[in-house]
Symmetry: none
Subunit: 213 residues, 4 copies
DNA sequence: TATGAATGAGTATTCATTCAT
DNA sequence: GATGAATGAATACTCATTCAT
């Protein structure tokens, strides 16, 4: 199997081999990060070599270093790429005029979609263990920030009566855990679209198991 | 710091250095698996070398091979050790005379406790990516079995009216995800005891976010 | 800190960034070789990357190849640059009307100044190991020539009675070694000026340790 | 050429292939360091790969790591091995009853022999540039100590009248430089034995170039 | 039982060098 | 003239695994 074929086989276009030579650095960097995200999700961070990623792009390994400092940097960038969607969801929630529960719903949908994206696995699995102190701290900070915002929405909801009186911390953990886990089982090929999954999860979060009369 | 001291410092006894020479193979094997579970949870599977585990036990690396075939075998055994608690929970649920929701509650509590145990991380993270085909298949089979049983309980509950009519598959995924995630943030040192966490999670699952009137 | 600033900070002008655009190729080539000499002396040949040298000049790596064939060529040119001073010293000695010892003194002073220059390290360290066969041979030839000429001066001195009867070869080795070593410890910032060092070394060579009565 | 033959060709016995398997760890470690010293001297530190050294011993690369932490550690050990001889010379000088010049002579002979040994190159070339901060500091400290002791002997000599009144610092630099340089040109195969070289150098140091009447 | 010793295989990273623009 | 982009080759270092003792 040639490089070309492998690239094609993977079903993902590479800016390096699209007929006319693209010169857009940002585009290529993006492709590198995307390829890494897919590889990490598929095989795991440690089971993915830079050669794997380079091969998926039809490029040689040192080329990657032209766009990214490190392997861990690659993981970090995947993490950040996924984060964008979540940030947007928080923005949207902030702009909305709904009550706490409605706002939370907006955020959770965005969160679920991000987790179901190709960057989801990296977001969820970018961990201390694989990153140096500085990056580890940055990631923990961002994750902490998200957690804090979710709790805040829950508390808003309990304040305005749209959410039952509950332990915001534990509830946020449960919700985030359920959503994070999507990264472990969802594949784009699945029958259920990401948006569908998000809505059903939210339905469950809102109504719970016990029947309402 | 000597090996001995490190072992002691970690606060975990080693059957190799407990005064009277223990000759019990099973006991030592257990210790090996426990040490592995702790190390994997702490540093991750790939960031833990067999030397690390051996050092934690005050033993040399080849000794481990006397008790276990492989590094991946070690991971598998950790997975299995955690499974025991879940199996027991299903047994208890089966013996109980409660309705579906009550039975599910029993299972979820057992599941949560298992995940919060020192083996929890391994159970949740024992993945295809790090195991050969055979083991990977065995693990997937067991995880699938648990999923199926949880869905069955949910369906029982909807049948007997104790659980709202819902998509059993998605609900099971949400619940399992929330519980699995506990392995990522819970540490024994935490203020909240595992049992407490379990009950609060179950409370959230049952009642949901929306206030009941 | 930008490239520009770094260049300035290093206190060495670059013909690429000096206001009026210098078009003089020779000048630029000179600057390249000087920058290399400084970098090699500071960090060693192998610990200096072409990127380092380019950065010191505020230029990109491929630009260097416009002025020089190779990395090893760079080293060779530094070697040659240092050699000029020594050649001049030999010329001066040849023109002088002093006896052997006086002529030798002239040469040694020139030699010492060359070694103390920014090219000294390269002259002394340009070695077989880092150069291909051809260059290695050229360098060895020049070094051999210098050695031969120094020995000749010594022999002249012994002939005219200005130098004690001694083994010219071993004496030349001792003298050259002592002078070469200057490259390892002398820095321009040092209190002792190069000329001063040269004179003191020559004093020691001429008079020896044992007191004369 | 097979591994065996290459080992033989190099003319150096390897404790790994001497018929009966030697189990003496210290012996093997010594052999590793010796092999490194020879390789570094021959090809230079950076041009020597660990594979080269391993091959010279008829062993595989990871084996080296069983005896030594690092490549730089290897260099450091070579440095230390050479140091032993110098330390002994200082001891002997201390025990001697001669005057300053006679004591200095003892030290310089020992120094010269050490430099001419297989470790000489490493001693002379173990440099900051190739070592991390800690090792670099240790080496500088030891070199500084030797320099200080040589200066002290010179001052002793000037005090007791056996050495001319001179700048101890510059004289020590000149002498050490001349001796260090031996590592660059002396090979065991040379006609002149190390002891011979030492004596001739010392003769030059003591008597100087100018004839005494 | 346990271990000292050894190794094969793998992998991130660096860097001199090239070349089309 | 200068550079952005790419790459081939090299290399230190790690680690699971084996085996004789």
């Amino acid at each position: 199997m040639t490089q070309q074929q492998r690239t094609v086989a993977a079903g993902h276009a590479s800016p390096w081999h699209g007929g006319r030579r693209r010169r857009d650095r940002a585009l290529k960097r993006d492709a590198v990060i995307r390829a890494a995200a897919r590889a990490f999700r598929e095989r795991g961070y440690h089971n993915t070599s830079l050669d794997d990623i380079a091969a998926a792009l039809g490029v040689t390994k040192p080329t990657l270093y032209y766009y990214v400092r490190n392997k861990q940097d690659l993981l970090f960038e995947c993490f950040q790429a996924g984060l964008a969607g979540i940030g947007a969801a928080f923005d949207e929630a902030r702009r909305s005029h709904g009550n706490g529960r409605e706002r939370l719903r907006i955020v959770l949908r965005g969160y679920a979609l991000a987790i179901a994206s190709e960057f989801g696995w990296c977001m969820v699995r970018a961990e201390d263990q694989d990153l140096d102190a500085a990056m580890s701290a940055r990631i923990r900070a961002r994750k902490g920030e998200i957690d804090r915002q979710i709790r805040a929405l829950i508390q808003q909801g309990t304040a305005d009566g749209s959410i039952r009186d509950c332990d915001a911390k534990i509830t946020a953990f449960a919700i985030a855990g359920a959503l994070n886990w999507i990264a472990h089982w969802h594949r784009e090929s699945e029958a259920l679209a990401a948006a569908d999954i998000a809505d059903r999860f939210i339905g469950f979060f809102e109504d719970g198991l016990r029947p309402r009369r």
